[in-house]
Each structure stands twice: as C-alpha cells, then as structure tokens.
Amino acid sequence: MKRASLKASLVVVIAAIVLGGVIAGLLPSYWVFLATSVLITGVALQSLGLVAGRTGMIALCQMSFAGVGAWTVGYLNLAEAPGGLAVWILIGGLAAVPLGVAIGLPALRLRGINLAIVTLSFATAFDTILATMTYPGQTDFLQVPRPELFDGDEGYFVFVLLFYVAIAMALEFLSRSRLGASWLAVRHSERAAAAHGVSIATAKLSAFAISAFIAGISGGLLAGYLGTLVSENFSMMQSLSLYAVAVMTGAHFAEGAIIGGLLVVMFPEILRRLDLPQDIGNVLFAIGATQALSTGETMSETFRRQLRRLVPARIKAAASAPASDLPAPVSRAAGPALSVEKLTVRYGSVVALDGVNLTVTAGTVAGLIGPNGAGKSTFIDAVAGFLSSYEGSIKLGGKPLEGMPAHLRAREGVRRTWQTNRIAPELTVGGYLALAAKGLSASETRAILGWLDCPDPNTLVVSVDAGTRRLLDVAGVVAARPAVLLLDEPAAGQSHEETLRLGQRIAEIPKLFGSAVLLVEHDMDLVRAVCSEVTVLDFGRVIASGPPAKVLDLGPVKKAYLGIEEESVAA
C-alpha cells in the first residue's frame, strides 16, 4: 500500500519537475501566467474530485469555498498578519472547513440529490453576500503580496506548482488509506460500508471537510495570483461549470484535474484568438459531462483504459503466503457468542420473523436454513443492525446490541456478508481487506487471500470474477476476526469443487481466527459438512433446531424445504 502510494507520488513529482522546468524555463511569461491559472483551477478541481468523483455526491458550491479562502487571505493581508502568503493560504483553507462540514451535515443520511440542492442554494446565498462586500483592501488598492522568493510570473508558477504537487501527493496517500477506501465504499453501497464498521457520517463529512480545505487553498492561491479579486471570480456559475468539467474529465484523478484546468483556461484563450465568443466553452463542458455520465466513464478513465490496452497486462498470480502468516486467532470465552431471544420483525402487517430463538456457541459453526422467504436474510439484517426496529433481544457474548447502529455493531464484533456482491469495483483486493480489517499487515493480507484462493492484493476488484468476489467477501469479514460471522449464502454461484473447498475453509474459521460462524445456506451438503447445530426457519418461525444429522431428517423440515410430504419421499 505505502509503496504503491510512494511510487505514484514519485511519478507526480517527476512529472511536475520536468513539466514545471519546461514551462517556467522555456515558455514566454504570458504562457507561464496562463499555466499558473491552469494549476490553480486544477487545485479547485482536485477538491471537487474528492466529493464528486470519490464519494459520488453532487457538490455545486466549490467556488464559494474558494471565495472564503480568498477573502480570508485578503483579510489577513489587510490586518498585516504575520506569516506571509503561504501561511495565509493555509489559514484560508481552514476557514472553509467549518462551512464545508455545516453544508455536508444535511446530506449525511440522504444521498447526492439533497446535497446538490443545499450546495446550489448556498452558492446563491454566498453570491449575494460576496456581492455586497468588497474584497479586503480593494478600496485602498492594497494588493496581496507574493512571497519575495516567488515573485514574478515564473516564481509564482513554481509556488503554485509546489502547492499542487503537495496536494496531489496527500490525496494519493489518502486515497489508498482506509479513509480513502471508505469513501469509495460509501459511494458504492452505504450498507456494505457500514457492515465493515465504517461510519457513514465520518466518511462523508471528512470528504467534505478536506474538499472544502483544498478549495479554500485554491481561492488563496488565486488571491496571490491576481492580487485583488471581485465576487465574480467565485460566482455560482463558476461552481456549476467547474462541476461539469470535473464530471467530464474525472477530477479525482491527478491527470483529470490537470486536463480540466487546461480546458477551463485554454479554451477561452483559444476561442479569443479565433475571435469566437468565449462562453461557448460552457456549452462544450455541458455536452462533455452529459456524454461522460451516459457512458459512465470520464476522460481520465478512458485514457487509463486505453493505456492498459497498450501496455500488456502482467498476469496476476493468486496471492500466496505461508499459512503461518495468518493473523493469530483472537481467544474468546466459551459459551454463547451470539444469543437471540424472541426476535420478532414486522414489515407493516407482514410478520417476517416471529419469536425466533437462536444461539451460536463460541468456537462453532451454526447453520440457519429454510426455504426462500423464510426470513433468513431478515434475521441477518436484524442482528447486524440494518433494521429500523425489531422486538426481542440480541446479545453478543452477553452484551445487548439494542440501540446500536450497524457500524458500531460491526466494530463490536458482528460482521456479515451479502447475497449480492457489494464491493466497490474501484478498490484493489488489498485495499478492500484493509477497509474490512483495520491494521492488517501486508503478509497477513497475503496469507488470508491465499487461504481462500483470492487474487494478489494489487489486483483491482473490477477485474475479479463474480465467484471470486464472493470469496473476497468472506476474506474481508474473516480478516476482521470478529466474535461472530454471519455468512449469507457464500456458496451461491460456486462450482461443486469450489463449494467443497469453501466448506473446509468455513469449518476451519473458529479454530484459525477465533470467530463463531452463522452460515445461511441452501447447499445441504455444505451445511451437513460444516455445521454442528442447525436452525430451520419457515415463514418466520423456528420449526426445528439441533444437530444437522437429526434435524435435516425430520418430516416437517423436509416438507418445508423440499415442498414434499413424507409419504411422497417414501414412495
């Protein structure tokens, strides 16, 4: 992980030194001046890429945050605050953070669209506020001074370049961290993210706060660039067109932000030289964004895909590491790991679960079976905290879980998998495991992946086939070594041989990792092979429970499960 971030950062630094050297050293001043503007727009686009690209939210007030940063810089200049421009710019970025958090708050629980409305209305409000204020120092013709070292067009270009590279590197590290993985996970499926113990609120608010900080910095850089500013620099229209550009180019990629900056700055320049009206640019951005949304692929992603086609892909071997590298099992007290009593769940007038009792003993694998619609998945939802209400009690090792939201239950030690795959395809296999299990070492990651025949940690999830993704799901929850694992039909879609192998692995989980397992399955051979206790549900009621050899031969179980009467089986 770290190494990949370092490698990517090195690429950014080398590219910056080469390109920066060429631009600052060889190009005429006017072009250097324009290039500086490209970079500043690039910083603003990076900030937008974080919320729009990574977290998938529609943010339409990015230039307002930039405005806060710029105004702060102007104010600090007027107040003759110590520290100089670089420090003022950072303070300007910080000043935008509380606003970012405040505006992100209403969008915590509901997705993108509400955030779009909040941010657009904030941009309108901010427009009028800025319009009534003059830029600090404007009336006294007081310019924001540049640092002595970086005065002049070439100097300031280098100054901005340093900021751009620092931000690009920080984002690179962030995107590969657990926080970065949680952003992608939240974008893909909030429930799945919460099931890994990710707090949706923290993920969204951190994205918004960091994004506002970077946007504030872009505003501060603009203040030093132009010396004095007017409210039009930060108008709502700027925010809107910036959003269109971000969607079009994919601003969460380092190259996407630069391409976007180039388009925003160079397009009007070219149009001006061709004597064409400059506002045509926005029309093209709108078309480009619509096109990107309809294909689901931004310009950066298209470039990357074509690049991958040019460079022959190395065949990624399955991850391998000695089993001794597996993380040590967590020792747990004997007795019930999970005890559920009288669990009743109602959806309106439908009773999905009716007084269900079930105990999973520590160190064992228990089975939960029943025909489709019997309430098995509802049971898992209730235990994992995904239902707004239920009756009865759910205890984890004696501790009641009532009132705890899903992500806290996950942290407490209840982990689940899903029937449908919910892994964010942009993640790497290793990144997914890091999201699922905090603080896993590289060798442990490899060992767990190898143990379940999953691919190398550097493989992108998007290139992993559906069957293997289900194994990856299991690998994730196992890696977290929770008190209780709830596996929802892990063998669905696996071949017979794969199922046998998976069965062996599941049987080993309690010993190897110290987790008790509740297995929901339709494959009776698998259930017989690995479970020491089985509970059978039918229409939300427990109709039998006990050792599988005994329970599966009971008449009512056969009837419920196979839909046939005892007689016809005999016949």
Binding site: G56, I58, L60, L105, P106, A107, L108, R109, L110, R111, G112, I113, N114, A116, I117, V118, L120, S121, F122, T124, A125, D127, T128, I129, T132, S189, E190, R191, A192, M236, M237, L240, S241, Y243, A244, V247, P277, D279, I280, G281, N282, V283, F285, A286, I287, A289, T290, L293, S294, F386, S388, R422
Partner: protein
C-alpha cells in the same frame, strides 16, 4: 405593520411562481424520477422567445403563445435526452445530467440574449385585482397563485385517481417494468416534460418583469423552486404549494427591512437547510443499497 403587510403581499407574485415551479419539480420527480435543475431554464427559454418577438414588433398575445410553444419544445428536447440516454440511470446520475444541461443552457441563453444586456419585458397582466386590508393585490399575484393551485389540484387528482396517473407512477420507479406492462413510457414521459415546460414558461413570463430579466437570473429561480419542493419532500403537492408561497412572502417581508434586504436571496438556503435537517430524523438507508 401595514408596511410589512404591503411588502409581504408584494412577495405574493414571486411566491406563486416559486410554488408553481416547485409543484412542477415534484410532478417531474414523481412521474419520471428526475430532480430537474433545468426547470426554470426551460421556462426562461420560452420567455425569451416572447421577449424577442415582442422586441421585433410582433403583437403580444401571439408572441405569448409562441413563447409557451417554445418552452414546451425545450422541455420535450431535454425530456428526450433524459428518457433516451438516462431512462434506467440512478436518481443522482439523472440529477447530475440536469446540472450539466443547466450549465449548457445558461451559456447558450446568455449568448443568444446578449448577456446581462437589459431587455424590455412587457407586463402581461398589469394592475390590481382587489384591495385587501388596504393593500393592493396585483392581478399577477392572483394569477400565479391561482395557476399553481390549479396545477396542484390537477396533479393530485391525476396521480391519485386516473389510470394513466397510476401507470405513470409505476413508470417512475421501474421504467423497464412499466414498458413490459405495455405502458408507452417514452410518450408519457415526454408528455410530462412538455406539460411542465409549458406551465413554467407561463409562470416565468408573469414574474419576469419584476426581476432583472436576464437569462441567468431567471434560470436560477430553480433554487427557490427546489426549496419549495423540498418543503413538500418531493412528494406532497399541497405542501410544496404552501412552501413556495410562504417563501415568497418571507422574501417580500425581508426586502422591506433595510438591514437584511440585501441578503434575501439567502432565504431559500436557510429553508433548505432547515427542511433537510428536520426531515432526516427518519430516513436511514438510501434506496435499498
């Protein structure tokens, strides 16, 4: 007191317009599942056709009809883009598309109408309708509110009692499934887009003389419209209607108080913030993900 009342009533025309635009937004959302950021821009396009024809010396009422027809056509054009390419897309993708389209429409609009250049917008319904507690209530305000109320009643009846309405509601959630049931999804969706286009155009024609009629300001009336729609939580037409009117009244009152009148366009933001924070108490997980 009377001054406050006068200015509140002065906000009624705006309130009616917000309400009508808001109800149209809810209508669009419930029937074709799009949170439409281009709503006001569609009406603005039609309004500027009226202005262009009027400035070119055409008589006013034929110009109004032509303008409404143009607004309807722009609505259908955007509807075509949305149904053809984004019929099965997620709600937030659709919203993002309308944001992108808004950027494009405003740019084209500003180009064609000469940017911030002031236009001569005829007042369609000048004069006062009646006096209430010593305050003149204008025909324009009665008209916009009446129109909004009419649209609300019709939309409510249409969706809850007619078979076509029920079909359309089914279509919003699962266009593909509705198509398989034999509902003419494309045609009905375009009908929705055309109809809301016509209504918003007319509403904007009435309010345009009160605002600085440039393409961007009018297009951005989508902000109070969406704020009103949020008051109705994008479900209830009646609450949206009330939300829009109250928004207009509050804006009107704010404009009479000197110290805050400059900031009155921040009011929709405060409303949005309050409604969202309040409505979040219950919502937990996004659409079954």
């Amino acid at each position: 007191m009377n001054a406050l009342l006068t200015s509140a009533v002065a906000g009624l025309t705006a309130g009616g317009t917000y309400a009508l635009l808001g109800v149209c937004a809810v209508f669009t959302y419930r029937l074709v599942a799009v949170v439409n950021f281009t709503g006001a821009a569609i009406g603005t396009a039609g309004t500027f056709v009226l202005i262009a024809l009027y400035e070119a010396g055409f008589p006013i009422w034929p110009s109004v009809v032509a303008g409404i027809a143009a607004g309807t056509m722009v609505g259908v054009a955007i509807g075509t883009i949305m149904t053809r390419w984004f019929g099965e897309a997620s709600a937030s993708t659709k919203a993002a598309v309308t944001v992108a389209l808004l950027v494009g429409i405003i740019a084209i609009g500003l180009r064609l109408t000469g940017g911030q250049h002031p236009h001569n917008m005829p007042e369609l319904f000048p004069g006062s309708a009646f006096r209430m507690a010593g305050v003149e209530v204008t025909i324009a305000s009665v008209l916009t509110i009446g129109l909004a109320a009419l649209f609300t009643v019709l939309a409510d009846l249409f969706l809850n009692t007619t078979k076509v309405g029920l079909n359309l509601r089914a279509l919003a959630d699962r266009p593909m499934a509705a198509e398989l049931l034999g509902i003419r999804v494309q045609l009905l969706s375009l009908l929705v887009w055309g109809m809301t286009g016509a209504f918003t155009t007319f509403a904007l024609m009435i309010i345009a003389p009160q605002r600085s009629p440039n393409f961007m300001t009018l297009s951005l009336l989508v902000v109070p419209a969406l704020a009103a729609a949020l008051v109705g939580l994008f479900r209830s037409f009646w609450r949206t209607l009330a939300g829009g009117i109250v928004l207009g009244l509050v804006e009107g009152m704010a404009s009479s108080v000197d110290s805050i009148s400059q900031y009155r366009s921040a009011i929709p933001f405060l409303v949005v913030l309050a409604v969202l924070l309040w409505s979040q108490r219950e919502a937990r997980w996004d659409e079954a993900r």
